[in-house]
């Protein structure tokens, strides 16, 4: 097998490997449980984006929680301890006079001083339920495009065979 085909085959094989989730419960789900929330906080309550990851804790609330002993990975005991301390000490990383835990329980962003401030929305087609879950349809759409290209290629080859340019 040529190196080119080997590379392509390896890429296809890796793309089919199922993702392995972390072995431990995630912090957002644990926060929901510990604080008896009616929603699951986004990772962006602490991290730069929803991918999380070491070194990406940029939000004031996340940095404050690290100061209360919370670290990366998945350590339920450390999270619970940090949340308890934040509540007991009235942690206010947003600087708006409203304690962080109170804001989280109320569904507000503890990082946004003043509570209730708008949050960014992403995408060019902003609207409720506009595009959620359309991943498989995108695959079908592009597969259709590829088939169309193939039909055109066959038609062009046929024209060429008849001397039409």
């Amino acid at each position: 097998m040529s190196p080119s085909l080997a590379a392509l085959a390896l890429g296809i094989a890796l793309s089919l490997v199922p993702r392995v989730a972390g072995a431990s419960p995630s912090y957002p789900a644990l926060m929901k449980q510990d604080l008896n929330l009616n929603y699951v906080p986004e990772c962006t309550i602490c991290h730069r984006d929803n991918n999380g990851g070491i070194g990406t804790v940029v939000k004031p609330f996340g940095r404050a929680m690290m100061g209360l002993g919370l670290h990366g990975g998945s350590d339920p005991a450390a999270l619970q301890n940090a949340l308890n301390r934040a509540k007991a000490e009235g942690l206010d990383s947003g600087g708006d006079g409203v304690p962080d835990i109170q804001e989280v329980v109320a569904g507000m962003d503890p990082n946004a001083g003043g509570g209730g401030l708008p949050q960014p929305m992403y995408g060019c087609a902003v609207g409720p339920g506009s595009t959620a879950g359309k991943g498989p349809n995108l695959v079908a759409a592009f597969a259709a495009l590829a088939l169309l290209a193939r039909r055109r290629a066959r038609r062009t080859a046929g024209d060429g065979d008849n001397g039409v340019s």
Binding site: A6, V58, G67, L68, Q119, A149, R154, A157
Partner: protein, 406 residues
């Protein structure tokens, strides 16, 4: 187009979109090509500052001749496999440059005193195109992101989004194409554009190849001994409402006195009514220096030091820094060993500096494909909070990547 070539092309498209995608990850940005005398990026990349977008035909050829392991092959002409889809399609006109970029990774993180977490992440799956007509240019990318890259999303779901990191129109202002004026969504010009997007110098300045692109107008110049780009930033129009869009400028100037050394300066200033991370008004600036040097061909040294300053409503003023030094050794063509040291301070009151070290290996083992392994040891400084003293938290990370481009 031959029918067999179209079948391969369709299979490549289907392959690309069966991949779930994109943890923020740059395409291909290899500033260590200075070891071969390439002080500029333009010969190989359609983006004048490199990294983003499709490769030129010359860039594809150099990828085979200089980048990948050749296993004793001494030919001096690139083969057909250097072309799009490994040469399985008819060569495209020189004015049309197409490409695609796909990356998978295994990420394992071991924080001190915490359980190990590991996951397989499908990183980038993007397609690019660049077309030229006379002096006019147009380029764009489209990809699929199952998670992340929200700032580059075209759709508005929390995940499984169609994304476009770059799309622009432009004009070459001279016959050689050394001056390029562009307007659209562009990678922000600042510092060393490189593939390690999570380096603090890229993350803290928000100038990586992931999803920090901005809309604006830029003028780039690339000549024998210097290159530069200056961009007026109009904001990211894929984020709403307008309060969250930054306005300002970013740019760099790099001078290469010889073909194995280059030094540069960067500057950035933006203002957002609501910062996308902090949701309050932020006047953000970063200014720095960077350098690339290859004392002997197998070895390249890259370095960058940036001063970062933010004025945040309710959070005060924060002056910090981010820096790295990387040594890239290529003992055999196509196989790299890299050692990178980083330091940063985010500027919060009482925040101690953070440090980490990367030990990396990259093997360009086949046409259009490479594998990479990074082990990263981090010591992260945590500012004091709620009466607690400042502290440190440690973590070890293993990142193994497989990358293929079309």
């Amino acid at each position: 187009m031959r029918a067999s070539g179209a079948i391969v092309w369709a299979a490549g498209l289907a392959f690309g979109f069966l991949l779930s995608v994109c943890f923020p990850s740059p395409a291909q940005a290899y500033p260590w090509m200075i070891r071969h005398g390439y002080t500029g990026c333009q010969p190989c990349h359609t983006d004048p500052s490199g990294g983003a977008g499709a490769l030129t035909a010359y860039g594809r050829a150099q990828s085979e001749l200089l980048l990948q392991m050749r296993y004793g092959d001494k030919t001096e002409e690139a083969s057909r496999t250097a072309g799009l889809l490994w040469g399985q399609v008819q060569p495209l006109p020189d004015e049309l440059r197409l490409g695609g970029d796909f990356r998978e990774a295994l990420l394992a993180v071991q924080p001190e005193g915490a359980p190990l977490t590991q996951q397989i992440i499908t990183m980038r799956a993007d397609l690019y195109g660049d077309i030229k007509s006379s002096r006019f240019r147009a380029a764009g990318s489209i990809g699929y992101a199952p998670t992340g890259a929200l700032a580059a999303s075209l759709t508005d779901a929390p995940k499984d989004n169609l994304i476009s990191r770059e799309h622009w129109v432009g004009a070459e202002l001279d016959d050689e194409g050394g001056w390029l004026l562009r307007a659209g969504r562009l990678t922000v010009p600042f510092g060393v554009r490189m593939i390690e997007h999570s380096l603090w110098a890229r993350a803290l300045t928000r100038t990586d190849l992931n999803a920090t692109q901005q809309y604006g107008i830029s003028l780039a110049v690339s000549k024998d001994h210097f290159r530069a780009e200056l961009m007026g930033i109009a904001g990211n129009f894929q984020v709403h409402p307008d309060d969250f869009r930054e306005r300002g400028y970013s740019g760099y100037f790099e001078y290469a006195p010889t073909n194995n050394a280059a030094v540069g300066v960067s500057s950035l200033f933006t203002r957002a009514r609501r910062d996308i991370f902090y949701s309050v008004t932020n006047y953000r600036q970063a200014h720095g220096i960077f350098a690339r040097y290859s004392p002997i061909q197998p070895l390249v040294l890259l370095a960058e030091l940036d001063w970062i300053y933010q004025s945040l409503t309710w959070h005060g003023h924060r002056g910090g820094f981010a820096a790295f030094l990387q040594a890239d050794d290529e003992p055999v063509q196509g196989f790299h060993l890299m050692l990178t040291g980083e330091a940063m301070n985010g500027g919060q009151e009482g925040e101690p500096p953070s440090f980490d070290a990367w030990f990396s290996g990259v093997w360009f083992f086949a046409p259009h494909a490479d594998i990479r392994v990074d082990t990263i040891f981090s010591t992260l400084g945590v500012p004091p909070v709620a009466g607690s003293a400042s502290s440190y938290t440690n973590a070890s990370t293993l990142l193994a990547q497989f990358h293929v481009y079309l």
